[in-house]
């Protein structure tokens, strides 16, 4: 375009920022960062057309623009509202917004089961964070929650429709990343559900990315299912040369076992971009490369200090030098205890990373 894009000035929570024309309020807020950015459950900046469904990113527009400074009568979804010059937005400074967001969280949780202790997403779940920050500790809902049987979406993806909040992100992944969409939303309104057409397996190379975009635990990795809690695994960045994808991933390890492979996430819990391209990863990298030798180590993944995943990890600590062999004249001490003599957990004989699906009692009773 020959015409240069107009630079607009918006004020969000009393912080001014200059953005290009066509930017949404949410993106402008994310440019400021921190608490000013509204939470988003359905909006995904890397997926065209996403957003506008969950209403968690509602903000108050105190002044529409410098040309027409009247406030907007209702709260608006910031992910779908483009900025205007001189717009004044209130997010966390507005009581109306906080109140509305609490209501939205209550609505999202109406049909959401309280199975976080079982769910593999717990610890990195957007809805968990959102309800922790905005939710009530109890429910006012007195009716039966809608329930579904768990379903296999292809051999490696598990769909728990109970947990779905109908954000449509996964269908956008299927639409925009894969050649043909074989899953979508069936039925309407309260009955709508994500499903594959006649349980047709999703064998597309990039179908696994719908696990990464799912804000809740509705779509989870079956090769990681029940293997470990995310906060007990250690995330490290790694890469491999992959013909299909960028090959830049995060490995979730326990010791030397690679329990899970995901795409690298940015600070908004979205898949990172590398040189302008979104770093989606292919199913081969995600589901089949569970050996440490398949990957080249890039460094430890940066985790927010307040995330539960950061517990028990002290990347700043320096391991003290092992002095015992020096004092013992070069040999290791003979009385060092092997933990596996007394403990059955993390048995080196049972390699969970080699098991395709979740482990069962048979795995442990060999």
């Amino acid at each position: 375009m020959a015409e240069q894009k107009q630079i607009l000035k918006v004020t969000i929570d009393n912080i001014s920022v200059e953005v290009e024309q066509g930017t949404t309020v949410l993106q402008a807020a994310r440019k400021i960062g921190g608490d000013v950015a509204p939470p988003a459950m359905c909006y995904y900046s890397k997926l065209n057309g996403s957003g506008g469904k969950c209403r968690t990113c509602l903000v108050e527009i105190a002044a529409g623009s410098s040309a027409d400074p009247r406030p907007m009568p209702k709260l608006v979804a910031s992910c779908r509202t483009p900025v205007m010059d001189g717009m004044v937005v209130k997010n966390i400074t507005s009581e109306k917004v906080i109140d509305a967001r609490n209501g939205v969280v209550e609505f999202l949780l109406i049909n959401h089961p309280l199975d976080c202790p079982v769910c593999d997403q717990a610890g990195e779940c957007d809805l968990q964070d959102l309800s922790f920050n905005h939710g009530k500790a109890s429910t006012r809902f007195e009716f039966e929650r809608r329930t579904f049987e768990k379903e296999d979406v292809g051999p490696n993806i598990q769909l728990h429709m109970n947990r779905c909040i109908l954000c449509y992100r996964c269908t956008y992944v299927a639409d925009q990343l894969t050649n043909e969409r074989v899953h979508g939303v069936l039925d309407r309104g309260d009955h709508s559900e994500i499903s594959t057409y006649i349980s047709k397996a999703i064998d597309n190379d990039f179908s696994g990315n719908m696990i990464d975009v799912c804000p809740v635990g509705a779509l989870t990795d079956k090769t990681f299912r029940f293997k470990n809690r995310v906060w007990f695994t250690k995330p490290v960045d790694a890469h491999r040369d992959c013909e299909k994808c960028c090959g830049k991933v995060t490995l979730w390890r326990r010791g030397r076992d690679v329990l899970r492979v995901t795409a690298r996430k940015d600070e908004w819990n979205e898949v990172q971009s590398f040189e302008g391209n979104t770093g989606w990863i292919c199913n081969e990298c995600r589901f089949d490369k569970k050996h440490i030798g398949d990957w080249e180590y890039d460094g430890e993944t940066n985790i927010k200090r307040h995330s539960v995943i950061a517990q028990g990890k002290y990347p700043w600590l320096v391991m003290p030098k092992e002095i015992l062999p020096d004092v013992m004249g070069g040999r290791d001490p003979k009385l060092m205890m092997d933990i596996h003599d007394v403990s059955e957990v993390n048995d080196p004989i049972i390699d969970l990373s080699k098991i395709k699906g979740p482990s069962t009692s048979k795995t442990f009773n060999k």
């Binding site: 202790p117 079982v118 906060w231 205890m337 403990s343 059955e344 699906g357 048979k362």
Partner: protein, 182 residues
């Protein structure tokens, strides 16, 4: 310098008198105190023949709870392990198969569950963290042992007896705790 308290006592540095120099009087005074204690109530009891009653809030050995039908409540969510300040708890989860529904309450269960009693400080944070009322601290303490192995408590050591197969032992293990209904 200003005194910190008003209980200051000056040391008596006067030379000892003849009676004091004999030391006999002071010895008699000390022995009187000693013998007086023979007739007082004893502070100790003959454990293990005699046992004290614990206070209702005493935190002792952990117990893995079952529900009324005898299904294990633990789903291996890892919250006790993450809450544990001594990092004494470890576990491994597995998926419940269709023929195990009478054994476990939820679709995930703890296939392995271990508490290292040498590490445990009996703070009770695991009980507080548990969302399923699956673990609680009982009113007994860990017995002594000769080897390290005896202090790694596995699921067999921790699980409460089955309420249907062994109701007496179950009731005893439950102790004064109220039954958890949900």
């Amino acid at each position: 310098m200003q005194a910190l308290t008003n209980r200051l006592k000056l040391v008596n540095r006067k030379p000892m008198t003849f009676v004091e120099k004999l030391y006999l009087w002071n010895i008699l005074k000390g022995m009187a105190i000693t013998f007086r204690h023979i007739f007082k109530r004893k502070a100790t009891i003959n454990y293990p023949e005699q046992k004290r009653t614990f206070s209702p809030v005493f935190r002792g050995l952990q117990v893995l709870n079952r529900d009324e039908e005898g299904k294990e409540r633990c789903t291996a969510c890892g919250l006790c392990a993450v809450a544990c300040p001594a990092e004494a708890i470890t576990m491994e989860a597995a998926e419940r198969s269709s023929n195990e529904t009478h054994l476990y309450r939820e679709e995930k269960f703890a296939a392995r569950f271990e508490i290292n009693m040498l590490r445990c400080i009996f703070c009770g944070l695991c009980e507080e963290a548990c969302p399923k009322n699956a673990i609680y601290l009982s009113q007994t303490f860990a017995p002594s042992n000769y080897s390290r192995k005896g202090f790694i408590y596995k699921k067999d050591d921790l699980l409460i007896p089955h309420p249907k197969e062994n109701p007496d032992a179950y009731a005893k293990a439950l102790g004064e705790r109220k039954k958890i209904t949900n």
